[in-house]
């Protein structure tokens, strides 16, 4: 069972208490953007097998959205962090590197 610690209320919540929200740090494209950009934003996903940044909501707890870094191949969780950031924080990148020295943010 997947357990993530909510960075807001500090509770280690199991997946039945959480709602998944898909890939994190999507760059949004709105009206006026090209068809390619809009298609990419709406539909195309790298769907990585490995380190994945994703959105979660502590639905059955404090209700806040937060972000998590997790390996989709092993379900190893590297950490969770605030949703108020447009890109992975230095701390979470360091936490991933500590366990996966070869990994780099593409």
């Amino acid at each position: 069972m997947l357990t993530l610690t909510c960075p807001y209320c500090g509770i280690a919540a199991c997946e039945t208490e959480l709602a998944p929200g898909g890939e994190a740090h999507l760059k949004r494209f709105g009206p006026g953007s090209s068809d390619d950009d809009f298609e990419g934003y709406l539909f195309l996903r790298p769907n990585v097998k490995g380190v994945h940044f994703e959105r979660w909501r502590h639905a059955m707890g404090c209700g806040k959205w937060f972000l998590a870094a997790r390996c989709t191949a092993t379900l190893e969780v590297f950490g969770t962090y605030s949703a108020q950031t447009p890109e992975p924080t230095a701390e979470i990148i360091a936490a991933i590197r500590a366990k996966r020295p070869d990994w780099s943010l593409t």
């Binding site: 997946e15 068809d35 996903r45 790298p46 769907n47 990585v48 092993t74």
Partner: protein
């Protein structure tokens, strides 16, 4: 290839079964093929089979990272039906179902197709309206289904509890020619027929890269060296995103785990397939007597081929209310498979941004039932550049907003 027949069994019985051939050859890869299919699951092997049978393209290799039929082909709940709402879906799934009817004879391999009937229970007012609408749509599409009453449900499946307090059965969508088949045999039968046509099935070999020259595919890198090809079909289900990245494009797909479980074998208690979409569970009884139970999919990206306990709890809790007699059954096995989900829950059978590369993916939670139709359409697309069955499922439908929205039609995992 020696054909299987009653006479062959009698002949071999007389000589200690010493005359059976291997079902398929396992040759070393050649330097070049006309077409390479990545992925020796049901869809990949069916694609190769119809390339040879319908289009005469027989210089074909099917390359598989693991073993033949070891992915989702061997991990599903073997249900075959075609009662879809949208016209393009009904066309391809009904093509598949009709091919399944004669597939054993076609392949000379017993795939144990059992058209025992599939019923999808309506347990909410919303589902009643939804399934009646689907039944009307199916009538127009030429797919034989009907909307039946709770009394008829009880007649067809006596172990069902139709007036449970929480999930009463209000009716059902009934497809009498739906059913099940032996999933491994589908892969094995296609593999044997492909091998018989001279195609090479290359197992334990991973495709690690796609070679391109001027926007066109020229070959693949594998763990057993580089192999040249004119056309490449990527038919790898859950790992489609990984393969697409190697070929240099992205897909509108996310991979999640879907799980199923089987009980200990018991005496025959139900001879139909029952799907209960409101409660995310479906059940049938295998020929061995096991109750085969399918559950829900995870909501998050996942490449681990295992289930999560809370899904089992949810699925079984709901099914026990609908089938009270299963409450004391012990579960024998439990497994997960990686399914490739698209936004509209319909598959992709399409050309790609790379010339000569085709993808067949996105079957999500419902790929097994589609294997023959999917292979038929994919082979036609690879051979001719277009296929009436496949055209609606092209990759650019997302960009153009031409969704084939089956997530509403099926309610959940289908």
């Amino acid at each position: 290839m020696r054909r299987y027949s009653a006479f062959a069994i009698a002949r071999e019985a007389m000589r200690h079964h010493s005359g059976w051939d291997r079902a398929w050859r396992s040759p070393a890869p050649k330097a070049r093929y006309d077409a390479i299919i990545v992925g020796a699951g049901g869809h990949g092997l069916a694609t190769a089979y119809y390339l040879g049978k319908n289009h005469g393209i027989r210089n074909v290799a099917v390359i598989e990272k693991g073993w033949l039929g070891g992915g989702n082909t061997g991990r599903n709940t073997t249900i075959i039906r075609s009662n879809y709402l949208q016209d393009p879906s009904a066309a391809i799934y009904e093509k598949a179902r009709s091919l399944y009817e004669t597939l054993s004879q076609d392949l000379n391999y017993n795939i144990m197709f059992s058209p025992r009937g599939v019923m999808m229970l309506a347990q909410t007012e919303h589902e009643i309206r939804g399934y009646q609408r689907t039944a009307h749509a199916n009538a127009l599409q030429g797919v034989a289904t009907e909307y039946i009453s709770p009394r008829r449900v009880k007649e067809l499946c006596p172990i069902i509890n139709i007036d449970g307090p929480r999930y009463p059965v209000l009716g059902a969508l009934w497809q009498p020619r739906g059913g099940t088949a032996r999933h491994d045999a589908v892969a094995w039968g296609y593999a044997r027929a492909c091998s018989d046509m001279g195609m090479d099935i290359i197992q334990q070999t991973e495709v690690t890269g796609v070679r391109r020259e001027g926007g066109r595919v020229v070959g693949v890198d594998t763990t057993r060296g580089t192999i040249a090809c004119d056309k490449l079909g990527i038919v790898v289900a859950g790992h489609s995103g990984v393969m697409a990245e190697r070929a240099g494009f992205r897909l509108p797909i996310e991979s999640v785990a879907l799980q199923a479980l089987v009980s200990e074998p018991i005496k025959p208690v139900m001879d139909v397939v029952v799907m209960a979409n409101t409660v995310h569970g479906y059940m049938s009884q295998s020929d061995k007597g096991e109750m085969v139970i399918g559950g829900g999919a995870d909501g998050y990206n996942n490449y681990t081929q295992r289930g999560s306990f809370h899904h089992v709890e949810e699925t079984v809790r709901a099914l026990v209310e609908t089938f009270p007699m299963i409450s004391r059954l012990k579960m024998l096995r439990w497994w997960g498979g990686i399914v490739d989900m698209t936004g509209d829950r319909s598959p992709i059978i399409s050309k790609t941004p790379v010339d000569g590369v085709f993808v067949n993916c996105g079957w999500g939670t419902g790929g097994f039932k589609a294997i023959p139709g999917s292979g038929w359409a994919m082979a036609e697309l690879m051979a001719k550049g277009q296929s009436p069955l496949a055209d609606a499922f092209s990759l650019d439908r997302f960009r153009e907003g031409r969704f084939i929205d089956e997530s509403v039609a099926a309610g959940v995992a289908h």
